[in-house]
């Protein structure tokens, strides 16, 4: 750690009364000549889904690897479940569950063997491991495929098995790196509902995604990452308010010219102007009325997360790799 947080940092094992699941300050990771993550700071609470949104190569996986102790940060500090990722990695690992972007499963093992191995490594006896593996296989709809080689599983089945093995230790903090990429709509819904269940049970969930719909559907708060830098962070609604280009749209009688400050929109009789805030829009409307303009209708259009993303990055969420 080359940079100490100005904030008060808790003692390494003060996790019981520590209410932040993840606390990151000034975190950076540099690979030779690539700044994969630059000066990231955020916190995640228990019982919250924190969406981590960014396009390819923006640094999502790097963040997950640092927070899960797989990679050491170049600078900054991070506590997960109250423990420092650099100085207390074992305590962090004991408290977390992780599914990486590519479900790294051994294709030559069966689903049951895989779960039994994971359970055994967590210290369960053979009979405990067998019983719990069966429970997990059933809970994740894999009981039919339990004795088949993982190599024969579909992508969705592998994700589910991966998620099941991430939950073996009853983690208080769960990291999911693009858990639904490549899944069909049904499997995605299934993962989403599992995520919500876990969140409702008090688990903190750090979820990376390239899908704005997913962030919109799941995230209580989210951060938007561009080239390794967090450019915005907060609840989706707040981000929309702060960063989205809200537009004021008005409808006039047919054949009317555009009032000053408004541009033609579609359909024909609609005109619009960017709205910096509700107050400004009200003022603009009052001016139109004072000028005697016949106003048929007006709308204040909230931006979508997609608009926020475009506004912040100048590109759509799933543009090509950098």
């Amino acid at each position: 750690m080359t940079r100490l947080s100005a904030r008060q940092r808790p003692a390494p094992d003060a996790n019981a009364d520590h209410d932040q699941a993840i606390e990151v300050s000034g975190l950076s990771k540099r690979y030779r000549d690539v700044d994969a993550l630059v000066d990231a700071s955020f916190t995640v609470n228990y019982g919250e889904v924190f969406g981590y949104l960014g396009r390819n190569g923006s640094g999502k996986t790097t963040t997950v690897r640092v927070l899960t102790t797989l990679t050491t940060p170049s600078a900054g500090a991070a506590q997960v479940a109250g423990n420092d990722v650099v100085t207390a990695p074992h305590a962090v690992r004991a408290a977390i569950g992780v599914t990486m972007q590519d479900a790294a499963l051994d294709p030559q093992m069966t689903g049951r063997e895989h779960l039994e191995l994971v359970l055994a490594l967590w210290g369960h006896t053979r009979s405990e491991a067998r019983a719990q593996a069966n429970e997990l296989l059933t809970a994740f709809g894999l009981d039919q495929a339990a004795s088949r080689l993982i190599g024969t599983y579909s992508g969705g089945m592998q994700r589910r098995l991966d998620l099941a093995s991430a939950l073996v230790n009853g983690p208080r903090v769960l990291f999911l790196d693009e858990p639904t990429t490549g899944l069909d709509a049904q499997s995605r819904r299934l993962v989403w509902s599992r995520v919500r269940e876990l969140r409702d049970q008090g688990t903190a969930i750090f979820l990376t995604t390239q899908y704005l719909e997913e962030a919109e559907a799941l995230a209580d708060r989210l951060a938007i990452l561009v080239n390794g830098r967090i450019v915005a962070e907060g609840a989706p609604d707040r981000l929309r308010e702060e960063h989205g280009p809200t537009t004021l749209r008005i409808r006039l009688a047919a054949g009317q010219p555009a009032p000053p400050g408004f541009a033609p929109s579609s359909p024909d009789t609609w005109f619009e102007q960017p709205s910096p805030g509700t107050e400004d829009s009200l003022r603009a409307l009052a001016q139109l009325r004072d000028a005697g303009v016949d106003l048929f209708a007006f709308q204040l259009n909230q931006p979508s997360l997609e608009d926020v993303f475009v506004a912040l990055t100048g590109t759509t969420a799933r543009a090509s790799d950098r």
Binding site: T69, A88, A91, A94, M100, G123, E135
Partner: protein, 276 residues
């Protein structure tokens, strides 16, 4: 459906990160079991390759050089009996790389990261694999030895555990080279490139032709080749001429070679699990 299966184990020993020997051995046994299950599902590379190729070498070479036994000064009853020890040890050389490749594959697929996130002692990951290598090669070695005995080599029951122990040492020594190179280059292809190494190692030794019958420069190289000492160590038991001095040399040569390669492998592995 609700998720309630996740229950932390009652007697988890990992919480502080300190693991201890019993946990390491238990974890090593789990990794061993995984390797065993994997190998039984793809037995051709795991078992057939390290036994079939040496058997082929033994059958063909002993026929090709059959009349060498008539040369004055040839120290064995038949060429097959003479060649059996070296070919027996070749099981380790053709078995090398199989498991190292598996480790590199685990590294590339991210499976190793998954293991690192579990409370497993890193040593167990390597030790479980090495233990499996030893037993897998022992199976192949026994097959080769059986063929050698059929072709006229001797083997006593008391000698069997000793030659298997020498084969185990050679497995760790020669296999360690594959782990060391694989972990350094992190590419399975580099391990393929190492396979032909068995040629100079076996040719520049007393495995095929007695020392008295080879040119001086080969004899010189053979004297610094650890494999030569292992071959002579095993040969004591296939020709019935035991001496503690020779056995000591064989063990010393194998141990020295093993320390060099395994320490290099463990260093690379340790830096790997320390993270980047």
């Amino acid at each position: 459906m609700t998720i309630h299966a996740a229950q932390p184990p009652r007697h988890a020993t990992h919480r502080g990160g300190s693991t201890g020997w019993r946990k390491a051995i238990r974890d090593g046994a789990l990794i061993y079991r995984r390797s065993l299950a994997q190998s039984l599902r793809a037995p051709v590379f795991a078992f057939l390759f390290p036994s079939a190729f040496p058997v082929l070498v033994l059958l063909l070479m002993s026929e090709l050089y059959r009349d060498l036994a008539n040369v004055p000064g040839f120290p064995a009853v038949s060429v097959a009996a003479w060649m059996t020890p070296g070919v027996f040890l070749m099981a380790a050389m053709f078995g090398a790389g199989y498991s190292a490749t598996g480790l590199i594959t685990d590294l590339q697929s991210g499976y190793l990261d998954r293991l690192r996130l579990l409370p497993i002692s890193p040593a167990a990951i390597l030790l479980g694999r090495l233990a499996f290598d030893v037993s897998r090669v022992a199976v192949a070695g026994l097959v080769v030895l059986a063929v050698g005995v059929l072709l006229g080599a001797e083997m006593t029951l008391t000698g069997l555990p000793v030659v298997l122990a020498l084969l185990a040492l050679w497995t760790l020594a020669y296999g360690g080279l594959f782990y060391a190179v694989g972990l350094r280059t992190r590419s399975p292809e580099s391990l393929g490139a190492l396979i032909p190494l068995f040629m100079p190692v076996t040719m520049l030794s007393t495995a095929f032709v007695p020392d008295a019958l080879v040119p001086g420069w080969i004899s010189t190289l053979s004297a610094v080749n650890p494999y030569t000492y292992l071959v002579e160590g095993v040969r004591m038991f296939t020709t019935g001429s035991f001496s503690f001095g020779e056995l000591g040399l064989a063990v010393a040569a194998a141990t020295a070679a093993m320390l060099v390669t395994q320490l290099a492998a463990m260093r690379s592995f340790a830096s790997l699990v320390a993270g980047d």
